[in-house]
């Protein structure tokens, strides 16, 4: 009974997500103005042959800065969570 | 044709390895199966011509996440109380 309920909920949720994705076409996005501009001008404006790196580090530099900050914050949080769980006589006092 | 065959093999491997993650009783085996899942997923990204995502998936998913799982399993105890 309970497992039947679970499977029913799973099927309904999966059907909902699949229905939402059915009318999307693969490889032909709706709005391509920004992509066309970057593909046409990215190489001369950023000076890098790899357009992905040019977008990530030049056009979208603030996103990369935020990503680096997130990583820094993750390390700070992990250091806080794990700080005193080891024994006192541990040879590796991290902080 | 050969490309379609590789796609079908990779996707079947993805489903099989995801099923193995759920099926395994031993935690280390499940972690290794999850690493195999990430590796196959990175190969699928490579087949879809996204090499950046493939490298990131191979490094983070197949390398670091599996290592985090293995380290965590080494650090915890089984029901019997003996550390693995």
């Amino acid at each position: 009974m309970k497992s039947a309920l679970r499977i029913g909920i799973l099927v309904v949720c999966a059907a909902a997500f699949l229905m939402a994705g059915l009318d999307l076409s693969f490889g032909t996005p709706a709005y391509t103005d920004m992509d066309d501009y970057m593909l046409a001008h990215g190489q001369e404006e950023t000076g890098s042959n790899n357009i992905v790196t040019g977008v990530v580090f030049d056009y979208r530099g603030f996103d990369t800065l935020g990503e680096a900050t997130v990583l820094f914050t993750v390390v700070l949080g992990a250091g806080l969570v794990f700080r005193r769980l080891g024994k006192k006589e541990d040879e590796y006092e991290y902080e | 044709m050969i490309e379609l065959l590789v796609h079908i093999l990779l996707l079947a491997g993805l489903v099989i390895s995801a099923f193995m993650v759920w099926h395994m009783d031993d935690l280390i085996s499940a972690a290794i199966a999850f690493g195999a899942f990430s590796f196959l997923l990175s190969l699928e990204f490579l087949m879809l011509q996204a090499p950046d995502v493939a490298i990131a998936e191979a490094g983070i998913g197949a390398g670091l996440t599996t290592a985090i799982f293995v380290i965590a399993i080494r650090g915890t105890e089984k029901d019997g109380g003996a550390s693995e």
């Binding site: 190489q43 001369e44 950023t46 000076g47 890098s48 042959n49 790899n50 992905v52 790196t53 040019g54 990530v56 580090f57 030049d58 530099g61 603030f62 990369t64 800065l65 990503e67 680096a68 900050t69 990583l71 820094f72 993750v74 390390v75 992990a78 250091g79 969570v81 794990f82 700080r83 769980l85 080891g86 024994k87 541990d90 040879e91 590796y92 991290y94 | 090499p51 950046d52 493939a54 490298i55 990131a56 191979a58 490094g59 983070i60 390398g63 670091l64 290592a67 985090i68 293995v70 380290i71 965590a72 080494r74 650090g75 003996a82 550390s83």
Partner: protein, 155 residues
């Protein structure tokens, strides 16, 4: 808890190749697929391989305490500093102030399909290296802290 002898020998053999591959991805980030984040993750994989293969005491003895912490901080500082230096050149924050200047990484890039020259890209290779060492330090510290927070080995 040491892993078996086979695992340790395999880790010793694999580690230099993984390191070289990671540094290649970081340095060639503006020419080939990859970049700072991916390369840093690959280098961190080499450090993690060491952690999985050896025991806690060996890992803590062989990886210096402050190197990873300092590399993370230095990476973030280099990133923000390079972006800030664009203000002194008179263009916006994150502007590409080295592009076409003729100095380090300043060769103008040829348009179209070309074999690629590592001396191009302006500040993009510098930002790649900064993000690379930051990701390396962050991932290494994350796993070292998790490893250090565990209870001691049973044996």
């Amino acid at each position: 808890m040491n892993m078996s002898n086979l695992v340790r020998s395999g880790a010793n053999i694999m580690m230099p190749f993984i390191l070289v591959y990671g540094f290649y991805i970081v340095v060639h980030g503006h020419l080939t697929p990859g970049g700072g984040f991916q390369g840093g993750a690959v280098i961190a994989t080499a450090v993690v391989l060491l952690m999985v293969a050896y025991s806690r005491a060996d890992v803590f003895a062989s990886i210096p305490k402050n190197v990873l912490k300092n590399s993370e901080t230095a990476g973030l500082l280099l990133f923000i500093g390079t972006a800030l230096l664009a203000l002194t050149a008179g263009i916006a924050f994150f502007g590409n102030w080295l592009l076409g200047a003729g100095s380090l990484f300043g060769t103008p890039v040829a348009f179209g399909i070309n074999p690629g020259d590592i001396n191009t890209g302006g500040i993009i290779p510098i930002l790649n290296i900064a993000v690379g060492i930051e990701v390396l330090g962050a991932m290494g510290i994350l796993l070292l802290v998790m490893l250090g927070g565990m209870k001691g080995d049973a044996e």
